[in-house]
Symmetry: D2
């Protein structure tokens, strides 16, 4: 790994609403205020933002300046295909041509703006592309529409990476790009080198995957493009502070990252509904740095000697001795 440093989604500093506390657990503020708080977090030097809010063609220059003033980099520009109710029943795979065209157009603009603002990647999470009920959509058409859309947008601007963020569910009961396997398959089948995969640590846990194993698989095929770090209780995307639930599996995830060719940001995607966002980011970074220190101490030969035998218990005992 040769990471660009720590980044976070700007939404971490927002109201963090849910369906029961609709106004959000905190008051909304201006983008600049979010950034002012963000730079109070030690080691945070990148920020992930969405198109078209807070970044669009009109606001691009203001955003560039706001970042520059604070010595922040745009870690990724992500296209927001979920917050507008027009995408309620799908964006890139919407069976309604007009809506799908809009989604494709927005993704293209995100790619261009990302390039303009110095971000090498657009994270693509088509959260509304999926279904809620059995028989709701035609699955065959869905795959055709999605693959065509991916090809169109990824070939439109091949200088910017397009990273597919898989997620099992939410806001739909079933997402189309649900698991690492599906995302990897799609990124392979489109045959475009700028298409890769985002691992959101919590999404991976929610799929009951081993996140470390996903790192190994994606890295083998050079498809690990973006990281979203967080934690949860496995059954939902709780977007909690990194390392507060899964200690061993987060350590293992960091271990495989450390030994991978990953070149991107260590991006936080947390939703501190009731928590102070500065503290939530800080503790996440402290935890990751703690784990990185442990990882640096692990002697790979020793670990491998236990793994050759599948001796998990001696491996864990050895790791414990390094904490």
């Amino acid at each position: 790994m040769n990471s660009k440093g720590f980044a976070t989604g700007i939404w971490t500093f927002g109201p963090c609403p849910d369906r029961f506390c609709v106004e959000g657990y905190k008051p909304p503020r201006r983008m600049e205020e979010y950034l002012d708080d963000l730079v109070k977090v030690k080691d945070l030097t990148g920020v992930m933002m969405h198109y078209p809010d807070p970044v669009d063609e009109q606001k691009a220059e203001a955003v560039r300046r706001a970042l520059e003033e604070r010595n922040l980099a745009l870690a990724s520009l992500d296209v927001d295909l979920f917050s507008n109710p027009q995408f309620a029943r799908g964006s890139l795979m919407s069976p309604q041509p007009k809506i799908r065209k809009k989604a494709i157009e927005m993704t293209k603009r995100s790619l261009d703006l990302a390039e303009q603002l110095g971000s090498e990647v657009v994270n693509l999470w088509p959260g509304q592309d999926g279904f809620d009920y059995p028989f709701q959509i035609d699955y065959r058409e869905q795959w055709d529409l999605l693959l065509d859309a991916l090809e169109e947008v990824a070939s439109y601007n091949p200088r910017v990476k397009l990273s597919l963020e898989y997620k099992l569910r939410e806001p739909r009961t079933h997402s189309t790009i649900a698991t690492s396997g599906v995302a990897l398959f799609l990124s392979q089948i489109v045959q475009l080198p700028n298409v890769g995969v985002t691992i959101d640590l919590g999404h991976s846990l929610n799929c009951k995957e081993s996140p470390a194993n996903v790192v190994a698989l994606l890295d083998k095929f050079k498809k690990l493009f973006v990281l979203h770090l967080n934690d949860n209780f496995r059954d939902w995307d709780d977007d909690m502070v990194v390392g507060t639930v899964h200690f061993w599996e987060t350590l293992e995830f960091i271990y495989y990252l450390y030994h991978s060719d990953y070149q991107g940001w260590l991006g936080l995607d947390i939703f501190p509904y009731r928590e102070d966002p500065i503290l939530a980011c800080s503790l996440s970074i402290e935890n990751i740095k703690w784990l990185l220190e442990v990882v640096a101490k692990i002697d790979s030969q020793t670990l491998r000697s236990f793994q050759k035998e599948g001796n998990a218990l001696e491996a864990l005992r050895y790791l414990k001795s390094q904490i």
Copy 2:
């Protein structure tokens, strides 16, 4: 069962937001407009509402009139202890005396207003009472505060039933009143006959319970007070249209209800984010009536003869023949 008929939560007709589509998938409207839509649903004669919005002391008379004009009954008046961010870290079990007092006060007012408006029950879902992270709260204090609060509110107005709605999680990662077992235990230990339990069908599925079995257990101890009907995919409270995922278990749930002493409403608690609420309620009621027809045809002696042997397959084959 001797049900009062079908009811629904008025929120079914609202914007149905989630954390990604914050403004909601539909525009908000006035309470009267919701009720106008509600009465378009065949067989819907009751409505569940929250205190203090849309019902409080000031609006009570207007609500009474709006219901009367449409021949609707108030099925239950539920206290909203979740939407105001002041309750973000707990209501009835908040360690902050002022906030807890506010929650207790609101629950008492709900009881009084329910009585005034002709509803015999207040549904109590303390959704913010729980925790998100390990070590976040003192669990011992939590149980003391909750039990004391339950005793205080339930004994305050013993003429109105107080029904505890359990839920595994959301909006917290862990609710305090999480399962049917905990709710039944609490309702027993407070030793007040007006305290009972709400089964939300989807919450029960989310707990990996057999909802029919919960009906049998609560009915045995005369603690089945309120029903919330819906469906989901087991891992989350999707609040879907009744019977669209779990056919056999919903049939079984209705079967046990039918043979229980339940005297309340058949209340819908669905969240039709992207669906027409009139259609969502209508299909829910059609499905329940379909299942009730099947249930009425089931010969209990025949079914029991298979159950004596634990012969699930002949039981299911017999049931299939009655569909």
Copy 3:
């Protein structure tokens, strides 16, 4: 779909043990007795068996005769890489060369014997290939070993199909070939046309997939090779009678199969621990035939018209009218 008819695993008729009732819920019997029971099930004309027990080079002729006498076809010959404790820590991806070689050898023999006995496919479920604890194995090495092994065995006898059966977990806490996405990716990346994927309906439910959606995806890429039909409660591979839990999703699965190019068997993979296996197979087949009848009545144009709008509720209402 142009299916070869109904088949079942011969293990359906065995003792069906679990870790708590080790001797099994029923006494073991001879293979011929299992087959005698099997032919009592209406419409069952195929059987799935394992190499090397009950089929190996020595027993092949006796098995051929036993099947012929009962007018049964060998639906698939599956290689058993799980029951022998030598494979406890992996078979095809075992880091121990001798064990891995043994597993590869057994798979090759299964391919040859399948060809000899007239089965066009070997189902490959490497159940012990995976891991239990964090840090137990080297994930990078795992993928290399597995891919190499798949290439070696699949290219060894290209006249027989090799179908990868994915499963989330059990007997390991994590399987290597865990989801449909991973299985599809592997079958694509090996670039051998005789490598495809098995959908075990219950495994798919356990992955929280939409099984019908998986049919659509695999069929699009001509990778749907084998079916295992059963049901469960989503969180474990309960191997229950088909259609006894998930009515709508099983109907939807059958609907997509019906409209697919699938040419193989409708294979049952159930584990009737406490049930009569004849009854369990019979009810499974009755349920599938019932669903096939419904599917045949569904007018695709009508359904598509609702799907164009994402109108799940009218779609389901229409389907209900066809039951």
Copy 4:
């Protein structure tokens, strides 16, 4: 807490079969050989055993001697109501009077033998009492039969504690005594002081409970009788080495135990299928002792000051500083 020390189930040292590796991952040995291995584990001074195998009236004296020779105490004598296929469809709640009588009789004998052998508690896990399919049993009858049986056995020998071990599922898809709430309710409603509850840490995680919170609840009502310690990945009872998956929640569990009135054993209930049982027990105990050391360092006042605010993140940061 004032624990009696560490104990383990003797089954830890057995073949550990599963349904796919029926003979077990290790060869079976004699009871004495298991005990010889057990005493090699540092700090292990108690053992949990089952009636009627390896302990029954005939073998009681030999067992007593074998334990005495090794300075081991019988931590609990548990009644085995699951391994004999006669109980396949239920034991204490079997609708077949003869089978139910047998189960009741066996439980009574366990109580007497426990007393005779110096164990103060019988752990009661009626693993076959439950159901697999919808409509399989009559739930109302089930609760009656179970409650009657509990009363009968618990009042038969009030000098021995009877501890109900709840479990969500396995070997049935649904257990009757499924959650801590149900177990606590049952232990309360029978009104016999010798009836309490066993927390199996992994069962609690599998119920998606907070195990520490369950400790607090049971301790408040003096119903925490027995502990089974292990770990898992939440969705199944993997019976893994303690602390190898859930670090924070295991720490929190130990913290609440430490501050409880628990007087029993720290019992391991692990199933080291592929692991060396001596190592598996040793690492479990090492991990628990490590956590106990951390717990001893935690200043409750400091922790409480964060909890008063619901400030989980400062609480966790403080805890991290104590590791």
